[in-house]
């Protein structure tokens, strides 16, 4: 059983829904990025998605594009992201999933990548532009290294491909709540519930639903259908807006607020209605 299997098993046993956070590694810089991951873990995130910055993030909206640019300027590369994961792994209980475009992995080489990722303590990898048809070598290499390959499913995905992804995927399946790029929205897309229902019919794998989630009521709504909600762009906006001194406090407060901790209060100046979706 992988760490991600345990995480979702424990959630189910406890009757809880999970919170998955997405941050771009190296934003605003590598040391603070490591601090942010520690704080996310301590503040209640169940799975940490760690974005590998890429020069051409064509599936991402403006918020994550800007985060990628900041991270690349700060010197983040796939190698350094793996170093960062290795450094924080012993202090973190949450599962760690790398979220990346294919080319950095292919440049490193599939085998060196999975060996390095496994050694660093990466639990799962999601490659945005490796749909199941192109993911053969990726899936073989990751599973052989004990890493869960995570696949995305979208409202445009056919039932046949959902079944195929359910056969090939491990850890959990990532449902995209709407068409389009990453970025927060005011409300959860209509159709998100229907997508989760279609996935449920095909598999027992846990389902995380993302794209457009930024507020506690979104997280709560998603929790009625899916096993976990993913918050990305909105969190990245919190990071981008916070002052250096307040950065970790703001991150902690935002995540506790998302999780329904009323004592956390509404974070100051956060949760813009137009933040990111991932």
């Amino acid at each position: 059983m992988s760490r991600l299997d345990h995480t979702f098993e424990n959630l189910r046993r406890g009757g809880r829904r999970g919170l998955v956070t997405f941050t771009t590694a190296g934003d605003p810089d590598l040391p603070r990025s490591a601090d942010i991951l520690r704080v996310l873990d301590r503040s209640g995130a169940d799975v940490l998605e760690v974005g590998v910055p890429f020069s051409d993030p064509l599936a991402d909206g403006p918020v994550i594009q800007r985060a990628s640019e900041r991270a690349l300027r700060a010197g983040a590369t796939l190698t350094r992201v793996l170093d960062l994961v290795e450094a924080v792994r012993p202090e973190i209980a949450a599962g760690i999933v790398l979220f990346t475009y294919a080319n950095p992995i292919l440049r490193m080489g599939m085998t060196p990548f999975v060996e390095r990722a496994a050694a660093a303590g990466v639990d799962g990898v999601l490659a945005l532009d490796l749909p199941i048809e192109e993911a053969g070598a990726f899936r073989e290499a990751t599973t052989a290294a004990g890493i869960d390959p995570i696949f995305l499913l979208s409202p445009t995905t056919t039932d046949a491909r959902i079944r195929r992804a359910a056969e090939l995927g491990r850890g959990f399946l990532y449902g995209i709540s709407r068409l389009g790029v990453t970025g927060a929205r005011d409300a959860i897309a209509e159709g998100a519930e229907a997508l989760v229902a279609r996935i449920r019919r095909a598999t027992d794998l846990p389902i995380a639903l993302g794209f457009g989630i930024s507020r506690p009521e979104h997280v709560a709504a998603v929790g009625r259908w899916a096993d976990a909600a993913v918050v990305g762009s909105a969190l990245i906006e919190v990071i981008a807006r916070a002052s250096s001194e307040r950065l970790l406090d703001e991150v902690a407060r935002y995540v506790r607020w998302l999780g329904g901790d009323a004592a956390a209060g509404v974070p100051s100046g956060t949760v813009p209605a137009t933040a990111g979706e991932r």
Partner: protein, 410 residues
Amino acid sequence: MTVPSFGRRDPDARGYFGEYGGRFVPETLVAPVEELEQAYREARADPAFTADLEVLLRRYVGRPTPVYEATRLRAALAPEAGPGGVARIFLKREDLAHTGAHKINNALGQALLAVRMGKRRVVAETGAGQHGVATATACALLGLGCEVYMGADDMRRQALNVYRMRLLGAAVSQVDAGSRTLKDAINEAMRDWVTNVEDTYYLLGSVLGPHPYPLMVREFQSVIGREARTQLDELAGRAPDVVVACVGGGSNALGIFDGFVDDAGVRLVGVEAGGEALVAGRHAARFATGVAGVLQGTRSYLLQDLDGNIEPTHSVSAGLDYAAVGPEHAWLRDLGRAEYASASDEEALAAFRLLARTEGILPALESAHAVSHACRLAQELGRDRIIAVNLSGRGDKDVDAIRTREEAER
């Protein structure tokens, strides 16, 4: 290569030319791309579709475009040539097609396909602006909505084409991300498509992107090669010894190569942008320093750094200023069927001036790269040889940029 799924020289069922190509798209685009492939497959087999396109190409675009022998260009090369003399040079005049470049062949083909698929809105990317102008034109003709994404740097370099697109009723959206050139415009067009897939058709302008685009765009451009072959038979009495074309994504090159690829006696030469120097960030010669990788839906040669990020590129010509090359070119190169050279910014500008003064033709700066290399080859090969050059576009769009450059040099 596995068995082709369509016809002659087609990629396999997964869209691979050898180990290049494929369909590396975010999940949301898988179904739309499959729908597109199915629609294209049906249209390609439908004589009515082909007939509609042929009528437009003849009556609206002005095809066939002529082939013209550049005798004064040849004479001007003689003083620097050896005793063997200079090869004959024939120009395939795609610059004379409506809108001023070969791009209209593909834009009309895909716009007809969009209509057939019931899509009412078209998005496109453009570098030099020629594909954007061709797409805006096709959309005006067929009554489709049109939005063109263009990098901020390219909008400055090709201001005339920006205005042309707007006159044609298209919305031109400035892209400020990344290198602010063609690559970033493609990212933005794909983001639009993934958001609006239900009513929107993505009209990609070169032999790039996920399957079936590389195949489909080549097929819409292959009219260039079919015509050139017949025309050269009539004019020169035989096939050329060498066919030369510039390669950005590579659609004009595959279009003319297609007429000659089965004839092993014809050398196929693609010319990339050598820029200022073959140093990272200062050129766009993918085959000179690139490594295979995945960008924007396809696996091909890429200018990338050791970490797999895409390197900035440079070329005096916006249409060649791109970090990847069409997957079929990568395959043809690995097979040894086509060869790839580069011409620098200065060489292309010199060829531009030479063609203007000897033949009264202002070529697009992209096409001037092909002219430059053809001149070099003509001097090497000698008088008994025949070279065909795809003059893929006209240079009006570049006049302002060249003037600015010349004034700065003074």
